[in-house]
Amino acid sequence: MPDARPPAAVTGVAAVSALGPDAETLLAGALAGTPAFAPVRRFDVAGRRVQVAATAPGHPDLAGELAGVVDRACAAAGLDADARRDIPLLLAVHAHPAMARAGDRAPLTAAAFAHALAVRCGLAGITRAYTSACVAASTAVADAAAMLALGHADRVIVAGGYLVDPDQFAVFDAGRALARDGQVRPFSAGRGGILLGDGVAAVVLETPAAAARRAAPVLAHVAGWGRAGDAFHVCQPRPDAAVPARAIAAALARAGVDAGAVGYVNAHGSGTAASDAAEAAALRAALGDVAATVPVSSTKSVHGQALEASGLLELVVTVLALRAGALPVNAGYRDRDPDCPLNVVTEPRAARPDYALSLNSAFGGANTALLVRAA
């Protein structure tokens, strides 16, 4: 297990989702358990098995939306143009949005897209583009926290963006991964799969000392982080739960706390049968008896699966829920599944836990755990 590490202070957040144009509407939807799924109007879905997703109105532009959340997160953190200049940007994104349909594709890398975003936002530090599917953003957060803890930077901005698009919609539909009943029902009996959702988010992370030096508002801390791989299968989760449990254990070890400290779990909770059961087993393996009692919800049940951006959208929800003193609701839940013996949050619930876990998993057996500590 890794050694204990200093935490990363979260000093600014911003988000856009189908629930609304800012982090406040995202939080309100998550706390009320109001799903944002509706028939897709953004592009033609005729001929698809499923025709539903969680999309913001109109045809938003990914580069513009990302620049918007980075600007708003920096403003919330009190970072003016001068202070932004040297900050590294870690971006989670599927690909350069124009690449697949361009003539000359070679320059249109996700790295170039990240660099252009940094220039547009006045960030002149290093940039890095994470493309590891549904753990891209959470891996970027873990790396940012490590960069701060190891003294590589005082301040890092992590951004991630996915806007529901015809190509990914087509492959998820072809892969029969989408829920035919038009709802995502994580951990519930009768759950039928995922639904895609828009998610664009940015978070400012700083060393506690750097935040204190400029008297920045601290919303919460990323107190621990862990990343591990299944070494099992291209797209199926490992049924014995050993590896995601290792990511959780690493996050607890870095924070220097035990399982009993965890008061809420924002689960990966994709809504697919095998993945949710594997995650429940992982929680059992990592948290022991605490897994049966700790409140758990997956906010993918309201904002949908935002792919590369999902880890960041869910981190923003988790940070703001800790501040709000209420737990996000796992919408769509119908009946208990014996394979998911968890304390699922199915109604609005007040609570003020000190620590919350945000979990993500992806194809390729990649798993991440972020442990958030209330400010």
């Binding site: 690909a95 697949a100 890095r128 590891s132 599917a133 190891l150 492959v171 299944d230 070494a231 990649a366």
Partner: protein, 189 residues
Amino acid sequence: MNATLTRDAGLLGGLIAAAHEAGLTVRSAAAWPAGPDDALPSLPGFVDSTFSPLVAAVAARCLSHREPADPTALVLLSPLGDVATAVHLAHAVDHGERVGPLLFFQSVPNAVAGHVAARWGLRGPVVCLSADASGLAAAALLLADGDADAALVIVADQAPPGSAATDRAAAVLVTAVTPVTAVTGGKAS
């Protein structure tokens, strides 16, 4: 290092230089292709694109003489990712053609990363970046942070469809300075 090198010292040379710059020790290295006769084997379950077979082939060449430590991270660097799959998918969508179910998981680089991790028992983090060899810094960070004892770093540079370029890849197995791997002469489990 094993000696199955290398027609394409440029890509591999850049990766080795990046490893040394990051203060890491290179335990094994490989390039694909290593000569004009290198024919890329197909990879069951992956279709229509050389990206995943390319990654699997260079990983196998790098690990076949070297049992990786546990946990070993997998860091997959590719500037464009699986560009052939992305182009194929966009064409199918734009022309109303059927989208095959295998494209579902193939549309993200994690899929072949998972294949490689399962084949070679790599239980460390799986990280995919849009990057050239300079992205090796991400592996150095993972090792310094303690989520892995070694990292298999692969650069996969797939030629965009219609371009004059050719596919090429390179891989290094790196550790922090202290040796933690052993030569086995055979394949890992």
